[in-house]
């Protein structure tokens, strides 16, 4: 692996950039590994990287059905924030936010993390009260979040319409300045490159078809389309397909998989300086470094694995965008796509051990998993290396659906669901 630096860039430029080596080898499966991660998205590759880097477990395979980063890692709207209401959530998401800082340096790969601020619009009295409650709760947990008047919001994001005659009047906004965006693909690529450099095998086009368990119930390995691969430790990080994989081990999970759509516009000059979310009217938007407006819609209503959704969902979101930002009414949209999100009943993830020995899970991130990528990878690696959850992810166990100790962000979070 060539280290990226100004010098290496200059040296390779002299050769017309023809001599760059491949960034990671396309590995073939070995007979056995110390740990297997199912799913080569940002979360899974992150877990493999931290297993190798922090815990010295380098005989690791990341198995991917399709291509690396081709699932929800490549399909989200790249928003990063940690302004969640409950203590458990604030700790979990802020752990990830702290890791985003310095991630580019650590991986020697530019993840383009940009702290441009995430602003959430309040359109009615309920929004105002709920956002202020979030701001106070966040401050008690050391998470930055501040209240802006409508005028201050307009100053922070000039395309915003704060006209009192607007269909969705803006009464104010909550702003997390540390929030922002990152380039989603580079997060997967950066982790893949850094993990492969430490000895991790990344095996693409290899679907898991079964999980083999021994007489004592513990896992022995995975059956795949490229043969059996043995390992006593398996971490499942398969997003929308998590419940399908868990059923291979005989486990029923409290998950439902829905399509979530996003879209981008034609590229334009820099015009939109931050991320704006409006939970009440279901629209959120930022501008990518390429110049496209990146817009997220809500989930479709039905369970599906088809990675596409209905047009009326997109239409609903664009109607809201046009009301809030009249400047974009004549923009043309270039592409829409869908990803499959695995949603838990309390809208919080499941991250930890399972009733099956040697089987670990990182799932249920629903509509907001990208922001947690480094944190989820780090905590899954910890849990797999120590065979016990880290205090941060201990509350995110499967047992909470039996005990009733839910982390109910569904009703109260500042999240667009």
């Amino acid at each position: 692996m060539t280290r990226f630096s100004a010098f290496s860039l200059f040296a390779k430029a002299l050769g017309g950039h023809q001599s760059w080596p491949e960034q990671w080898p396309d590995a073939s499966p070995k007979p056995d590994y110390d740990a297997i991660i199912v799913g080569a998205g940002g979360h899974g590759l992150g877990a493999a990287y931290y297993l190798a880097k922090k815990y010295g477990i380098t005989k690791v395979a990341v198995i991917e059905k399709g291509w690396l980063g081709g699932g929800n890692t490549g399909r989200n709207t790249t928003i990063i924030r940690s302004n969640y209401l409950y203590d458990e959530s604030a700790h979990l998401y802020d752990h990830a936010l702290k890791l985003w800082d310095g991630l580019s340096q650590e991986l020697n790969y530019n993840t383009m993390y940009s702290k441009r601020g995430v602003m959430m619009l309040a359109h009615n009295v309920h929004d105002v009260q709920s956002f202020k409650r979030h701001i106070h709760a966040n401050r008690l947990n050391g998470v930055d979040n501040e209240w802006l008047s409508a005028e201050q919001a307009k100053e922070y994001c000039p395309p915003l319409s704060i006209s009192p005659d607007a269909r969705h009047p803006v009464l104010g906004a909550a702003l997390q300045r540390r929030g922002g965006t990152a380039r989603h693909d580079t997060v997967a690529w950066g982790y893949a490159r850094a993990a492969a450099a430490l000895g991790v095998d990344i095996i693409q086009n290899c679907a898991v078809t079964g999980i083999r368990r021994g007489a004592d119930g513990a896992v022995e390995g995975v059956e795949t389309t490229r043969g059996f691969i043995a390992s006593k430790r398996i971490g499942v990080s398969a997003a929308g397909h998590s419940s399908v994989i868990m059923q291979m081990a005989g486990l029923d999970f409290p998950l439902e998989s829905y399509p979530l759509q996003a879209l981008v516009s034609e590229p334009v000059k820099p015009v939109f300086p931050c991320v704006v979310m409006s939970n009440t009217v279901h629209a959120y938007m930022s501008q990518s470094d390429k110049g496209e407006l990146v817009i997220g819609a809500g989930t479709d209503q039905y369970v599906s694995y088809s990675q596409r959704g209905a047009l009326h969902i997109v239409e609903h979101t664009l109607a809201a965008i046009c009301e809030i930002f009249p400047i974009f009414r004549r923009m043309r949209m270039l592409r829409t796509w869908g990803g499959i999100v695995d949603v838990t009943p309390d809208r919080s993830p499941i991250l930890g051990k399972t009733p099956v020995k040697g089987l670990y899970v990182n799932c249920g991130w629903g509509t907001g998993g990208f922001k947690a990528t480094p944190g989820a990878g780090d905590l899954l690696a910890y849990t797999m290396a120590k065979d016990e959850p880290h205090p941060i992810n201990a509350p995110y166990n499967l047992d909470r659906f039996r005990t009733g100790r839910l982390i109910d962000e569904a009703a109260a979070a500042a999240v667009a669901h």
């Binding site: 397909h241 419940s243 399908v244 029923d252 999970f253 409290p254 998950l255 439902e256 998989s257 209503q301 039905y302 369970v303 599906s304 694995y305 088809s306 596409r308 209905a310 047009l311 009326h312 009943p345 659906f401 039996r402 005990t403 009733g404």
Partner: protein
């Protein structure tokens, strides 16, 4: 040569309401979750595990899925459907109370 639009492209589901006996656009309907989940006859006798299964565990299959829909902007009635979650194609819709297909 003229480019053909991709075959898989759909704009919205078309759903056959078994009461109205008509295929109508998805926006007339509300999805109502997995079908054939039986409400417990005596909740006081249930263990925590049984509550967990009833309230939270769903089959979430990739393939045949039994689900409830409500024709909210039509007859207003609930009915059941079998749909393939990998292709979104409906196999059948049938009235509430009829046996599982």
């Amino acid at each position: 040569m003229r480019r053909q639009p991709p075959q898989w492209r759909i704009e919205m589901l078309l759903i056959h309401c078994p009461y109205c006996d008509e295929a109508r656009a998805e926006i007339e309907f509300a999805y109502a979750g997995e079908a054939h989940i039986v409400r417990p006859p005596d909740p006081s006798l249930m263990s925590d595990e049984e509550w967990q299964r009833y309230l939270f565990i769903r089959s979430n299959p990739r393939g045949r899925h039994h689900e409830r829909w409500r024709h909210i902007h039509g007859c207003g009635r609930f009915f059941n459907a079998v749909r393939d979650t990998a292709t979104d194609k409906f196999e059948a819709t049938y009235k509430a109370g009829e046996p599982r297909r």
